[in-house]
Symmetry: C2
Subunit: 497 residues, 2 copies
């Protein structure tokens, strides 16, 4: 027998339950204190540092001597991460479609993470697999599906979710394209997409071998929603030219201004032309939990596929995106494979519970566990509260913009996304390009100061500002403060200070 190398002291320390206890308790205190300060805006929203500087600090920690006490080294590492991060829980965070998550959700994530409950095969994470299935059932019921008729799963993000759903649509339309490749005869297949869809729809066309040039932009109405009448014409023209149509990709809502497509009308058009309707409801799906706003999703249950990110408006940490197929028969159409060391031929009944047959991931985190945990503690009513609160903040902000002489909202908000520009009087003779540059420079100054965090966008080729109200602790007062900050910083910028 050869000699087996020992469990070294390093291994022993790393795996000792007592160290998990010791460092865990320290972490909880550090996190709770941090959260308290952030929620009360005691520091900066974004802790801006240049990438090069952060790299030096990150690198230094790796090289730090390992003879220090473990708890001290851990505290230093944790403090470094927290003091240099983005603070989504600061009510002045009004940025991307990434929420200030329910902090307790992170504790459920930690259960999955410390014990490494994973999926692909039911055996490897039996309970977390069941958790995901139960959430698919619950969310499916909200969508309006009948039990037993639909299918779904969780995956790592909206881009991956859209890719998987569109892959299924491609395979369903183009028979053996999975095995034989995208067909090389006749007109090339297209995806008809909301003209302002998230970039991942076009990317999917690029990845799937269709080509980004094969994305046909659906024309929009004056509220930047797909126009059903013009979609009907587009599909009719494509059909007349024998162009295979993989899917119509609609949005609920589209990212730039949060426009919700008229899903029932689009479903009518798609049914008439026998085209797969896919809906990116990454952001808006959560409105199904709100009595006030669920009408925005009328017709969603008619989509052939849809995606819904729990890590957006269900307020759990990244990443947990759901894919749904209206027809349960489509659940295995994305892939076909054989892997005897994974899927057990002696237990074929488990195939329905093995997530790896449905997702791009083989090993998959217990991505749905935080959602299950939050739901189990607070019930689905919490999600309704969060949607109502943040959507209303969107409307409140719009009203403030309208009431101000020096701000210009760019649309009526349908949800918690609002695009706008600051137009101080001193800029009244500026060119559109100058106005656009002003917005972007102004934003950069504001976010790097740590006073607020908002994001850039553009409309008609000109730079603009955009907020997502995605922290329920933000109040109308904070929104007044944002306008005041933009005015002050704008003055300084125009003064060349």
């Amino acid at each position: 027998m050869s000699e087996t190398p020992p469990v070294t002291d390093r291994i022993r320390e790393a795996y000792a339950p007592e160290n998990l206890r010791l460092l865990g308790h320290r972490l909880v205190d550090v996190l709770a204190e941090h959260l308290d300060g952030v929620e009360q805006s005691r520091g900066r929203v974004l802790n801006w540092n240049d990438p090069a500087e952060n790299r030096v600090v990150a690198s230094d920690r790796l090289d730090a001597p390992k003879n220090a006490a473990l708890v001290e080294a851990f505290e230093r590492a944790a403090a470094t991460v927290l003091s240099r991060g983005q603070n989504l829980h600061d009510p002045r965070y009004v940025g991307h479609q990434v929420p200030a998550p329910v902090p307790l959700a992170g504790l459920f994530d930690a259960i999955g993470s410390v014990t490494n409950q994973v999926m692909a095969i039911y055996e490897m994470g039996p309970f977390v697999s069941a958790v995901e299935e139960v959430l698919v059932e619950r969310l499916g019921a909200r969508i309006g599906y009948q039990p037993g008729t639909f299918a779904g799963f969780a995956t790592h993000g909206g881009s991956l979710a859209n890719l998987t759903a569109l892959l299924t649509a491609r395979n369903v339309l183009l028979g053996d394209s999975y095995e034989a490749g995208v067909p090389s005869k006749g007109p090339r297949p297209v995806i008809v997409s909301h003209a302002e869809a998230h970039y991942c729809i076009s990317r999917s066309a690029g990845i799937l071998g269709l080509g980004t040039n094969q994305v046909v932009k659906a024309e929009l109405d004056d509220r930047r929603r797909i126009d059903p009448q013009r979609l009907d014409e587009t599909l009719g023209r494509l059909r007349a030219e024998n162009v295979p149509i993989v899917a119509v990709a609609a949005g609920a809502c589209a990212t730039p201004i949060g426009a919700f497509d008229p899903l029932n009308d689009l479903a009518d058009v798609c049914e008439r032309h026998k085209v797969w309707l896919h809906v990116d409801a990454a952001h808006g799906g959560a409105a199904l939990f709100s009595q006030t706003h669920r009408h925005l999703l009328d017709g969603l249950q008619r989509a052939d596929s849809l995606i819904w990110d729990a890590h957006k408006m269900l307020f759990v940490p990244a990443l947990c995106a759901f894919v749904f197929y209206r027809d349960r028969e489509h659940r295995f159409r994305a892939f076909h494979q054989d892997a005897p060391y994974l899927f057990d031929p002696s237990a074929p009944e488990l195939i329905e519970a093995d997530s790896g047959l449905k997702t791009i991931e083989c090993t998959k985190r217990a991505a749905a566990l935080p959602l299950w945990g939050v739901w189990s503690l607070f019930g689905p009513e919490l999600f309704g509260d969060l949607v109502d609160r943040t959507f209303a903040l969107g409307r409140a902000f719009h009203q403030k913009l309208q009431a101000a002489d020096d701000f210009e909202p760019l649309h009526e908000p349908e949800c918690n996304i609002v695009a706008f520009r600051h137009r101080p009087e001193r800029l009244q003779h500026a060119t559109p390009a100058e106005v656009g540059s002003f917005q972007l420079e102004l934003r950069k100054r504001v976010i790097r100061s740590g006073a607020y965090y908002l994001v850039p966008t553009s409309k008609d080729g000109t730079g603009a500002l955009r907020v997502t109200l995605i922290n329920p602790l933000t109040t109308p007062d904070h929104l007044d403060g944002l306008l005041a900050t933009l005015r002050e910083e704008g003055e300084r910028l125009l003064d060349g200070r």
Copy 2:
């Protein structure tokens, strides 16, 4: 002004730092106690329950009344997850290529999760973005790349990593295939793959529009490694037929028996034919941290692209997979897109730090943070210790199999993966099919009893058993125990008990 719905009591409770503190401390005690019991094998490895039963339990917790004290509801939810899960930290876990992770890594995951530090844009997670870049530099140096000449990033799993790398290879070879689609003229492009590569290589061909039929299996030698001489012939034949070759996909190591391809020889062949060499080093990359085993990866630095899963042999929780390109110029070749609301045209210098331009994910978890945390606490030597320990356990297990009359190892192990069969004397006249069924039935009984966890595989079409020694707390005594358990349970199975 319309009235903004209030911050409800539910929202207040969910976001209260004091509740994070209260529940967090309870969780730490629960997790530490659980880990202690698991590491000492006080319970079952796998807590087997049927999917239907687990679904009922998962569903019940969602419907539980919400009037209980928060801490009690949380404890009950946590206990439910832990009592019905898979226990990777039990030394009798010898299953899939998913490790018993360093428990402290989960604490770093919790920092990212509770505060929701994400990527896509540097601004959204500045420090965690830097952490990922620094780890790319460190791992790249281990591979043998020169600083400044290569590129890399982290993504959610090996399948996604292989897909992204092969997408890049496709785009580099097939000029405008991203924009125009997979070309429709001439012979269809192929991927030449290790004949026993993970299923995601073939899937990638299916997803990318090439077609799974377009995967050419590279012939293997008697140790199930790609045979360089025969690869040379295959590539020569394909070249003679003008077939475009997207990539040769090699393994380090391939999953079934952990075979490491001869990378230098393959790189010679690929250079000669000017073909992109891709290496799936998901499992084996970590051997670079071992003085004893790093030779298995000689030549890895010559691959055009490679993947390396930290959530396998670097012992962090799922998911953290790295993709590397030898030539830094390839880092943006997977995608091209425009998203003004994301990437800030006023700060073009940040493009290098915005991960979303390189990965399929837009919003991305701070996937590399646990690896950074573990490295910062214990140094890279810990990874060497873990590789040495678990690879040696593989050899020790092989010796035990050889020494036993009633066990048959199916190969010499190169690492910590060992495939074998149990051949009790009572089966000496059984057909191969009967022997295969026996292995699978035996395994099912053993894992559902909770005594050990190992996985099924097949060789030459006949069922077999397979272990991965991926828990450093497993000892040679546990391996003796596994053989004893298989014997006992095998007796009962043959007795029809």
